[in-house]
Every structure is written in C-alpha cells, then in structure tokens.
C-alpha cells in the first residue's frame, strides 16, 4: 500500500539542533551541525532503508504517451540504484504539479503563447523507500508535443534527508546550471525546428494556392471544393502566422534574470501590455529571428528541402517523441550531462564531509591573496558561488515558499504547491514556515485554488513568473535580439496538426482522455477526482506498468560517462535495504512529524578519498594536481624525512625559493623524491608548473626562474657532462640533492620551524596525516607571511631617504615574530610571492624576476 508522499519536515530553529553560543566558536557560517543522534550509535554504521547504495541523479520525463518514465541516471550504473524502483519514483516526482507545463491561449489573445517559466525546485521525501530527493522540474519545448512543452525533471536522490535539506541551495544553484544548459540548447533546437516547419508550411501554402487557383478555374469560385481549398489555405495562413509568432517568442527570450519577484511582476505586467501592441502583425520579429537562425544554421537551412504538410497530423501514438538529446542541441546536452556528473561528484559522500569541504572551500575562497601558495587548486573553485555560501546549522534554508527577495541563487523560486498536492492532509501541521509568511503571494493562494480544483494544470498559474527566465549560462544564442515580448501566459497548441493524445496507459481511472484529436485551448487532461486520491490510487497500483522508453537504450552516446570506480564501490558501506524503523504504514500526517533525528541518520557514504596512500602518486606533468595526489605524496614525504637527516635543509631550500635539483641515475628514485617534496614548493601551480620531475638535458638560467624543484638525470654521456657544467656554473642559485651518493649541498639552516615541520623522528604514521600536518604548519607560515606583507609600518619609509631604516624595521619585525635569519628568508620569499600575486593576479604571465642570496653552501651527508 502506498500512501501519499511524505513531506519532508521543515523545522524551525527550536526543533532542530542545539543553538549554543560560545563566543570562541567559529562564526555560524563556518560551523558544522552536530550529529543529532542522541544515542551512542556510530553515525556511520547505520543501515538505511534505502534500496540504493549511494546518491544518484535521476532524470525523468512526464511523457504524454506513457506517463512518467525515468530516462537516465547518473552515475549510469544499475548497481547504484540497486532495487530502487525508478519507475515508481519517477511517477512520484513527476506527479508533482509543475505549473510551467501549461501552455494555452491567454485570455484576449488568439495566438499560442510560449511560457518562459522558472524551473521549480522542491524537496520530496519518501520514507517508505527511504529516499529523499531534491527535484528540479523544467520544461522543454517541442513543436510536436502537446502544448509544445515536455515536462522533465532532474532529481538528486539521497537516503539522507538532511543532506537534501541542508544542501538545498547548493543543489538548487547547481541544478539550475544544468537546467540552463538544457533549456538554452532546447531553445536553439526549437527555433530550428520552427524554421523548418515554417518552410514546410510556406511550401504547402504555395502548393495549396496553386490548387485553389486550379479549383477556381475548373469549378468556379463558389464550388464546395474551392471553398474547402480556400479554408484550408486560410488555415495554413493562420498556421504560418502562429508559427512565426512562436519563432518570434522563442527568439526574443529574455536573457536577463530578475531577482525580485515583485519587480518582475510589475515588469511582466508592463511587458504584457506592450506585447499586446506588438501582436499586431508585423514581420519584423520573424525577420530578426530569420536572421539569427540563418547565421546559426546556414548550412542546415540551405540544405533543407521543404515538405508538404498534411492538414491533419498523424495519430499521437504513431508519433515518435523526440529524445532528450534531440530536444537540445547535442553539445548543450553533453554539457548538461557533464554538469550533472559534477554535481554527483561534488555531493558525493556524507553530509558532514560535504560541509567540511564547503567550509574549507569558503575559507580558502576568502584567502585569495595567499591561498595560491600552498592550497590545492579546487576543481570547482571558480564555479562555486562563495558569496552565497551560508550554512546555518539550525535553520535549514530549504525550499518551500521561498518566494521572494531571497538572495539565493537567482532563480531559486520554489513552490510548495506540489507538496500541497501530494499531501493535503499535512497542511495543518506544517503550515508555511514563519520566515516566509510575509512573502506569501498569490502563489500560495493559487496553490490552494489549484488544489481545490483538483487540476494539475491551472490556467491561473503563476503568471508573474512567466516572463522571467534565467539567461543561459552559455553564450546566449539569443543574445542581442530584441526582447519585446515576454509573454507569460501559455498558449494553446496550435491547430490540428499538432494534436496530441493523452497517455492511455495511465487510464487507471484517474485520467480521462480528452479530445485526443485536438487540444486547442484545453488542458491536456483533467482529473475527475481530487488529487489526493489520485496519488493514493497511483501508489496503490504501484507503478506505471510499462517499461520505460529508455533513452539510454536508444542512444549509446548517452551511456558514455561515469564508470563507478571499483574502489569507491568497495568502500561504500553495504547498504541495508530493509525498512527497519519506519513503519510503512506511517503516512501523510505522521510522516510530517517524523523526527529529523530518525531520518537523518540514514547512512551516507564516505567518499573515495580515503584510498590507500601507499601508492606513489603518478605525478604527471601537464595534468592538474589534485589534492588527492598531494595527499598521496605525503607518504613519500614521510619516508623522505625519516630516511634523510638533511630533509630539513632540503625543505628549507624549497620554502625559501632556492631551486632544489635532485640528481640521480634512476628515474624512478628521482621522481619519487620529487613527489615527496612536491607539496613544500610554494606556488606550485595548478598543474605543478614550478616542478620539473625529470629532466635529461642541461637546464638554462631561465629554467631556474621557472622551476623550483627539478629532477635531473645523471648521465655519463656528453650531455651529462654539460649538465654537470650547468650545475657547477649555477651552483650559487641551486641546491643539489644527489640521490646516488645521498648528499645534499645547500646553505645551512638554523631554526625550529622546519624541525617541527619535518621531524626526523615523527610519530605520524600515515602519509595523509602527515600531509595535513604539513598543510597546517604551512598555513600558519602563510599567515605570518601575510602579516609581514601587509603591515604598513614596516615597509613604508618614514621619509624619503629612509631606505636603511625600512630594511632594519623589516628585519626586526621578523626577528620579533621569532624567526631566525634563515626562517626570515622563507617569510620574505613567501611575501615576495604574495606581493607579486597580488599585483599581477593569478596570471603567471609577464617576465618575473628571480631572487637569490649569496650564501655559502655546505655539503650534507647521511
């Protein structure tokens, strides 16, 4: 028995977490919510009820032919979903009313209107399945679809409810990007399609015209045939006009997003007025559209031969609906998949882990001035909207009625309608969150309306939002076009040619087939019974019993990405698939009351990052260095400092910017040492540009400027001797670690800083632990270097001829910080790097100078 969907509980501050205020604690935005489980249970050993082994992304469609159907999952691996019923879940997430999907005749207009609607974002929970989902609805335009729209949704499905709740904003903004890719691609494809259709229509019209003339000639003006032809011709004219209008609408898609709903409303109203004026037939817009499409699709267009269009289109079910990839431009589609893969990766793992890394990222983001020194470059660094970053432990910034003014992601308009629909009984309990009370606009009332009407699609749907759609993140295809009409109200599907049928497989008694031949001006289908019952009924019948029309099977190209790493699989805890705690009978009301604590401990997964650090990380020049690689290097580093008593001197060289050359016969040994010393190199660069792991030719002076750590081949050949010559010649600028004779020639180091950093007898056992230890100390060092760099009083001369005193003030400052002369050099070097970075930005262009010291080197032996 399937009950109505659970509404995820949206708790207020008092309900969730504890809000102690320790003055010394981290600021709230950087705190991690405590694990809310009271018992002494291990949070990571909890079994969950979920039937899937890890979080995944599901894309579903509400197909007009077969009803809700899953299209693809990311990762695309059946193991991920396990026994989880995708069909059922698709039904669940797609049965949420999506206002945007309505297209109809707006009152007072004769032409079909496209509705540029916001995506809706909701959270759905299904306690029975143990699944919680962030659901992102969107519509794509399809000329052949009913009302020109195809509702889709992307869902991030997790067993951890808290994860969905807490990460709502992040999920929302990330999914919005994906959605934008899809929609921009779709608009482009739709415009193309319209172009073609117009050609067809015009061609058909010309043919009809000829026929009509012929009829007139033969049978006279008033013969029935002639009249018929004339009607047909008139229909065709209308059709052409409507298509042109559609084209104009799609090409004048507003590229600017609006944040403020009220503003938007006003704007829309205003625009609606003007758009009425614009409706007066004029060929301008379509011309513009023509132009754009022309430029974009010159080749395709020119090669396209118009076809005769029959007055009546084929039966709905004979028609093959376009696949998602066909609906969008292929490149956009692949971009979307890429983005979804990124989402999957970035939200992988336990909530706690995500929090930590988000905080980490946010903190690093605040240290742009110094973070280039030792922090690993983040994969998504530029994409993560750090400014919006706000985690609050007590106040999950989640969905419902998050209508106005919220400076979330721009288009994070969320609707609660779905939930109302899904769970009418809950309302009394739940109520709208306090925070948004004042913001409830017509939205909610309409939601209520909708509900009472029991209709999936209401023509009173949120008009206000119609005109506002986010601009594509891509270079907008439609940019630069006039944006005259921002029509918000949906239009009816046009003429009989695109009539669509309601899926028959859904005829479980809930749906009634409307006029299948023609849907002009009608909602596609209407529920006879109120929705709640529908939901229950549907659930009762378990699933849409048809196998999904899998896009995947049709298109091998889609199966491309993501093969789950074996290791990751192996490490993910074996998920229990039992519904142990939750009574399946718990429905509606009670679900709403589910204590967060009960749900929240459903297990999530550790990321694969704990993989063995034994392996020598493959340091490959040219590919981005990842944090993981650096962590792996920690093991080598640990071994290095244990093995070589002069490790401190070597590290001192690297930190003070003196190029360290590792000389050896065996490439493996040299590379290993390079790898071990890797993360001590300041300003390593995203790709490790400042390191040359293996060099077999003599280096030049300019190389010393570029590389701070060089692995050099010792060879007996003539080349080898010239290498030795260059070593000799530039010996004052470099330190040489000879791995064959195990000697190091470098300036001496005195101080305690590096002995703490690289203790010969360190108790640290694991490479990754050591890496973190080093990272911590280097961060401290960086902070000092920052302080040193930006302290006014030590750098600014008191008067013009004051150079000497500046020098002594600088030296004294460093001595006061407790640094020895050698350590001062490190801080000074880091400070120079900071200054350079600050002045020039992250770009490494330009001719940089190369600093050095004239100091005596010593030879160290084991």
């Amino acid at each position: 028995m399937i009950g109505s969907p659970d509404v995820v509980a949206f708790t207020k501050e008092d309900d969730f977490g504890d809000s102690f205020s320790d003055p010394f604690s981290l600021p709230e935005e950087f705190s991690v919510p405590l694990f809310a489980h009271a018992a002494n249970a291990n949070p990571w050993t909890k079994t969950s009820y979920a039937k899937f082994s890890k979080d995944f992304i599901l894309i579903s469609e509400f197909s007009e032919q077969v009803g809700p159907q899953p299209l693809l999952t990311i990762p695309n691996d059946p193991k991920v979903c396990g026994t989880f019923d995708l069909n059922y879940f698709s039904l669940r997430i797609m049965s949420v009313d999506y206002q945007a999907s309505f297209v109809g005749h707006p009152p007072g207009s004769n032409y079909p209107r496209l509705n540029f609607v916001e995506d809706s974002k909701v959270v759905l929970g299904d306690s029975k399945e143990g699944a919680f989902a962030y659901v992102h609805h969107l519509t794509l335009y399809d000329l052949e679809a009913r009302g020109f729209v195809r509702p889709f949704c992307m869902a991030y499905i997790s067993a951890d409810e808290r994860k969905i709740m807490h990460q709502f904003q992040e999920l929302s903004s990330e999914f919005s990007k994906a959605s934008e890719f899809l929609k921009s691609g779709n608009r482009k494809a739709f415009a193309n399609e319209l172009e073609k259709k117009l050609k067809d229509l015009e061609y058909t019209r010309s043919v009809l015209h000829k026929e009509a003339e012929l009829q007139k000639m033969n049978n006279g003006c008033y013969s029935t045939q002639a009249i018929e032809k004339a009607n047909e011709l008139a229909n065709m004219e209308k059709s052409i006009y409507e298509h042109k209008d559609l084209l104009r609408q799609i090409t004048s898609y507003p590229s600017r997003k609006k944040k403020d709903v009220h503003f938007v409303q006003r704007e829309t109203e205003k625009l609606a007025d003007t758009s009425v004026l614009d409706d007066t037939p004029n060929s301008n817009p379509s011309e513009i559209a023509d132009k754009t499409v022309e430029t974009e699709n010159d080749i395709r267009k020119s090669s396209y031969t118009p076809q005769l269009i029959k007055g009546k289109s084929a039966k709905c079910f004979d028609k093959r609906l376009k696949t998602m990839e066909e609906l969008c431009d292929a490149s956009f589609f692949h971009q979307t998949l890429e983005q979804l893969n990124i989402i999957e990766k970035s939200f992988r793992g336990d909530l706690c882990f995500i929090y930590t890394s988000q905080i980490d990222r946010a903190l690093v983001g605040k240290q742009k001035v110094t973070s280039f020194l030792f922090e690993a470059e983040r994969e998504w660094e530029n994409e993560v909207p750090l400014k919006n970053f706000s985690i609050s432990s007590n106040n999950p910034t989640v969905p419902i009625l998050n209508l106005t003014g919220e400076p979330l992601s721009l288009e994070s308009y969320t609707s609660c309608i779905d939930i109302d629909h899904m769970k009418p009984g809950v309302e009394s309990i739940e109520g709208p969150p306090e925070s948004s009370l004042s913001d409830i606009t017509q939205e909610t009332s309409e939601a209520a309306d909708t509900e009472t009407k029991g209709s999936f699609s209401s023509d009173k749907s949120i008009e206000a939002f119609g005109g506002v759609s986010p601009s594509s993140l891509q270079a907008n295809y439609f940019d630069g076009l006039e944006r005259k009409s921002k029509v918000s109200i949906a239009s009816p599907s046009e003429s009989a040619s695109s009539s669509v049928a309601v899926p028959q497989r859904m005829t479980d008694g809930n749906l009634v087939l409307m006029d299948a031949a023609c849907c002009i001006g009608q909602e596609g289908f209407v529920f006879e019974e109120p929705l709640p019952e529908l939901a229950q009924e549907c659930c009762g019948d378990t699933v849409v019993n048809r196998e999904p029309l899998s896009l995947l099977q049709g298109d091998p190209a889609l199966q491309m990405d993501y093969i789950l790493e074996e290791s990751a699989l192996a490490e993910s805890p074996n998920m229990g698939l039992t519904f142990s705690e939750l009574n399946t009978g718990v429905l509606s009301e009670e679900v709403a009351k589910i204590n967060i604590e009960d749900v929240s401990d459903s297990t999530s997964f550790m990321s694969a990052s704990t993989s063995s650090d034994r392996a020598v990380s493959p340091f490959t020049y040219g590919s981005a260095l990842t944090l993981k690689q650096k962590k792996k290097a920690g093991h080598n580093a640990l071994r290095f400092i244990r093995q070589y008593p002069f490790a401190q001197q070597a590290i001192f060289c690297l930190l003070s910017g003196r190029t360290l050359v590792i000389l050896g016969v065996d490439e493996g040994t040299v590379r290993k040492l390079v790898n071990a010393l890797l993360f001590f190199v300041p300003n390593l660069g995203k790709y490790g540009e400042t390191v040359q792991p293996w060099l077999s030719s003599p280096f030049q002076l300019i190389d010393l400027q570029r590389w701070k750590l060089i692995g050099l081949q010792r060879a007996a050949s003539p080349a080898g001797s010239s290498i030795l010559h260059s070593l000799n010649r530039y010996s004052r600028y470099i330190s040489i670690l000879d791995c064959d004779s195990k000697t190091l020639r470098c300036p001496p180091y005195k101080g305690t800083l590096i002995s703490r950093l690289a203790d010969h007898r360190t108790q640290i056992k694991r490479g990754s632990t050591y890496f973190l230890h080093v990272q911590g100390m280097l961060t401290q060092l960086t902070a000092r270097a920052f302080l040193y760099t930006f302290c006014h009083h030590i750098h600014l001369p008191m008067d013009i001829n004051d150079q000497g005193s500046v020098t002594s003030r600088r030296t004294n400052f460093l001595l006061q910080l407790g640094y020895t002369v050698e350590e001062s050099k490190i801080v000074q070097y880091l400070s120079e790097l900071i200054k350079q970075h600050y002045m020039q930005g992250s770009s490494k262009g330009g001719n940089q100078s190369f600093c050095f010291n004239y100091t005596t080197s010593y030879l160290y032996k084991i």
């Binding site: 001035v369 030049q700 002076l701 300019i702 400027q705 260059s726 000799n728 010649r729 530039y730 010996s731 004052r732 000697t743 020639r745 760099t789 930006f790 006014h792 750098h795 600014l796 001369p797 150079q803 500046v806 020098t807 000074q828 400070s831 120079e832 200054k835 350079q836 600050y838 002045m839 330009g846 001719n847 940089q848 100078s849 190369f850 600093c851 050095f852 010291n853 004239y854 100091t855 005596t856 080197s857 010593y858 030879l859």
Partner: protein, 449 residues
C-alpha cells in the same frame, strides 16, 4: 717615456689565478640579488645604449634593435630594418619645441644608417647608399650634428642629412672617435690617431685633417675621453698613451707588458706561458681622474693626475675583458668568460704573510670558500700609493661572453651577452621595498584587499 714592467708575482702563482677567479658564494657586498632574464634577440647582443632613466636599447648581430623598460623588463619595441649585424649604436638627445627628444642612431654592416624614434618605434630616417659600413658614431651635441666613421668620415645633422663627407684612402678606416675642444675630433685609424677639425662657416661644415699622431706601434684598440684636457688611447700590444687634448702632445706613456722578472724556477716555468698572454687594451673607461684599462684578462688602473699606476690585477678574469666601468672606488668588468665582476680599490695593508687561499670548495666539501681567499698580500707595493683591486662580487648568469653592461644606478645593471640574452641585475632588497610600496598603493586604490 716611462716603461713599466709589472712585477710582484709570488711563488704561489697557480693559486693566484684560481683565487682571483673564485670569490665564493658569500658576497655580502654584492647587492645584486635579483635578476631578470630578457629574451628577444636571436644572435649575439653587442650593444647597449641608455635612452633615458627607464629605457635602454640593445642591438647585436641579428640586426634587431630592441627597446626595453629596465624596471619591468618589458620589451617596448622591436625595431626591424637592418638586414645585417649592427656595428654601432648611439642615442642622440636634442631639443625640439622646448622639449628634449631622444633619437636612436644605428649603423649596420648592410651599409645603412637608421634614425629611430624610441617613443613610437618608427624608423624616422634611413640612409642606405653608404659606400662602407660605419664602425663608430659620435654625437656633437653643441653643434647639433653627429659623425659616422668608417672608411669615410661623414657629418650629419639631426634629420640625417649629410652635411659633409671625407673619404680616406687607408684600408683600416676609423675605429673610434672622441671629441676634443674647439671643434676638433680625434679618430683612431689603425696605428694612427688623426686629428680632424670641423670648420663651421655659416651653415656649411667642412672637415679637415690637421695632424697624424703615429706614436703607437700597433693597432689602436681603444680611444677614450678622460676630461677636457686629456684623452687616452690604447693599442694592441699594451701601449697606453695619455694625450693632451689641445696641443696633442703625449702626457704619459705606459707599456703594459704583464710580465715580471723571474724569482724562482717554479714561476719561470709558468712565465713561458705568461709571455704569451694577451695584452691588448680592448677597453678603457675613465672617471676623469683614473683610467681603467682592460688589458687581456687583466685590469689596470692608472691615475692620470699622478701619472702613476694605482692598482692592477693581471688575471682578473678567466678570459679577455670586454667592457669596464669605473665609479669612485669601485670598478666593474665583464669578460668572455661569461661573468661580471665587481672590484673595489682598497688601500693595501702592510705587507703580511702570504695568506693561504686554502682549498677552493666547489662541490663536495664542507669548505667555506669565502672572500678571504682573495689574496690581499699578493701585491708587493713597489710603487708608493699602490692599492689593491679586491673582488667583492661576481654576477654569474650568462652562458656566453658578456659583451657589455650598462648601469642604471640603483635601478640595476643590464648585461648583454653572446648567449643572446640580456640580464637585468637588481638590488633585491630595494626591489622588495618598491614592490611593497606598490602593493600599498594598490591597496589604497582598491580600498582594502
């Protein structure tokens, strides 16, 4: 004529050479702790000319003239036009419209002369129908003309119009020129110095050879202006003659032989080799009181007022010295061995025990090879007032002969080399302070970080 035979060589001659060569890595007096490598040329870079406080031009065998900013190391312009190597380059500052303009004049083996505007990078004028290539250029600022010397002596005005021309019939041609008072010019032609007079009658200029001074035994390698009263010439076999600028008489004559009376058998063995060494005076520079002459791989400092040698170092470099510079008590030299060395004139201490210069620890020793290995007691003051020339630092960076250097005072030192590179050497501490100032300025502009 005074003939000088330099002596003072000691038993440990072998050590002296290496001691002179190797100063060690600790150079507290060497302030050049930052370098910037400038790439742009495709062949030997031979000439550096300062344009103003910020800019300089470099030219060489690739026929390119590059204009650089010394502070940023940015290449401002690449002046293309010459098809063969550049043989001479000078800057030419004149007043036009109340403001000072600087033009750049270059001469090339392709027998062209070009006038460039370093502000726009344009070639303002070009003369291509010369009969021979120009070897030297001389600007006479007060006459607002400039001269080119080669097989012919030409006088040009600022717009590169030929004002006067004089053809010689000697094979050698003019290799160097200096300006003398009263519109006289001294030009070195092989073994002779020819004094020319520029006659100005109205707007016409005529050149007339006044006298041939044939006191050198061999080809004159360098000719410099010392002060208003004196100029000097140096020849291939080490003759150094100081001339009076007005009456062209010899004020002093030195013959630098770089040889010494043998003291013992050990060094006699060495002497056979020493006699072969180069003693050509390739370059001289002067601060008005002292002359420094680059004699082979040695340095020779002469006081023109006292007419006596002040200091010398026979093997200052491993190879021939190509360029020198004298500033107060410090001296700089660059050589074919690829290094630039900085020297200091120090008063000699009392004769002391010859210091052991110890072992010189390049690689593989704990040895602290420092400046003390320099031989302060090497010189036996045979002449009162003799000072020692102490190496205080060296700049190693080029992998080929350092052809020339150009000092921008505290802004740095530019060197150019056979390895096609230019290097700007800077005072790291000063640069660091300047960068700090720039950072604070940007902070102020940005209102914080």
């Amino acid at each position: 004529m005074l003939r000088w035979i330099l002596g003072g060589r000691e038993a440990q001659g072998t050590v002296e050479k290496s001691a002179a060569l190797f100063i060690g890595e600790e150079q507290p007096k060497n302030c050049f702790t930052e370098m910037q490598v400038l790439k742009g040329h495709f062949d030997i870079v031979r000439f550096l000319v300062q344009i103003d406080d910020l800019r300089f031009a470099s030219a060489g065998d690739d026929g390119l003239v590059l204009i650089w900013n010394v502070e940023t190391g940015e290449c401002l312009f690449v002046l293309r036009g010459h098809t063969q190597q550049i043989t001479a380059m000078t800057s030419y500052t004149f007043i036009r419209g109340g403001t000072a303009h600087t033009a750049l004049i270059t001469a090339s083996s392709d027998r062209t002369l070009s006038l460039w505007d370093p502000d726009s990078g344009n070639r303002v004028q070009n003369i291509s129908d010369l009969q021979s290539s120009v070897k030297c250029l001389l600007v006479l600022a007060h006459l607002d003309v400039w001269l080119s010397g080669g097989n012919e002596l030409c006088v040009w005005n600022r717009d590169l119009e030929l004002r006067c021309k004089m053809v010689h019939h000697s094979d050698a041609g003019i290799s160097a020129m200096v300006e003398l008072p009263k519109n006289f010019i001294a030009a070195a032609m092989d073994k002779e110095i020819v004094i020319f007079k520029l006659n100005l009658s109205g707007s016409d200029i005529a050149v007339m050879a006044m006298r041939h001074l044939a006191d050198h035994q061999d080809t004159i390698r360098s000719l410099i202006h010392i002060n208003d009263r004196l100029f000097a010439s140096g020849s291939h076999i080490g003759e150094l003659i100081i001339w009076d600028s007005v009456d062209w008489t010899i004020q002093a004559y030195e013959h630098i032989l770089w040889e010494e009376p043998a003291r013992d058998s050990q060094s006699e063995f060495k002497l056979n080799h020493q006699k072969q060494i180069e003693r050509s005076i390739q370059h001289m520079s002067s601060d008005g009181e002292y002359i420094v002459a680059a004699v082979g791989s040695g340095l020779y400092v002469y006081n023109v007022l006292m007419k006596s040698v002040v200091a010398y170092r026979r093997t200052a470099h491993d190879s021939n010295i190509l360029h020198t510079m004298l500033q107060r008590d410090s001296l700089m030299s660059c050589s074919e061995d690829g290094s630039v060395r900085m020297w200091e004139l120090q008063d000699l201490p009392l004769p002391a025990e010859p210091a052991s210069s110890g072992f010189f620890g390049m690689f593989g020793t704990f040895g602290r090879s420092s400046k003390q290995t320099g031989p302060p007691a090497k010189k036996i003051p045979e002449v009162p007032g003799l000072r020692s020339l102490e190496l205080i630092g060296d700049l190693i960076g080029h992998s080929g002969a350092v052809q020339m250097f150009l000092s921008f005072k505290e802004k740095g030192l530019v060197t150019c080399s056979t390895d096609q590179l230019l290097i700007v050497w800077k005072d790291g501490e000063l640069q660091s302070q300047l960068r700090s100032l720039a950072v604070f300025q940007k902070l102020e502009e940005n209102q914080g970080l």
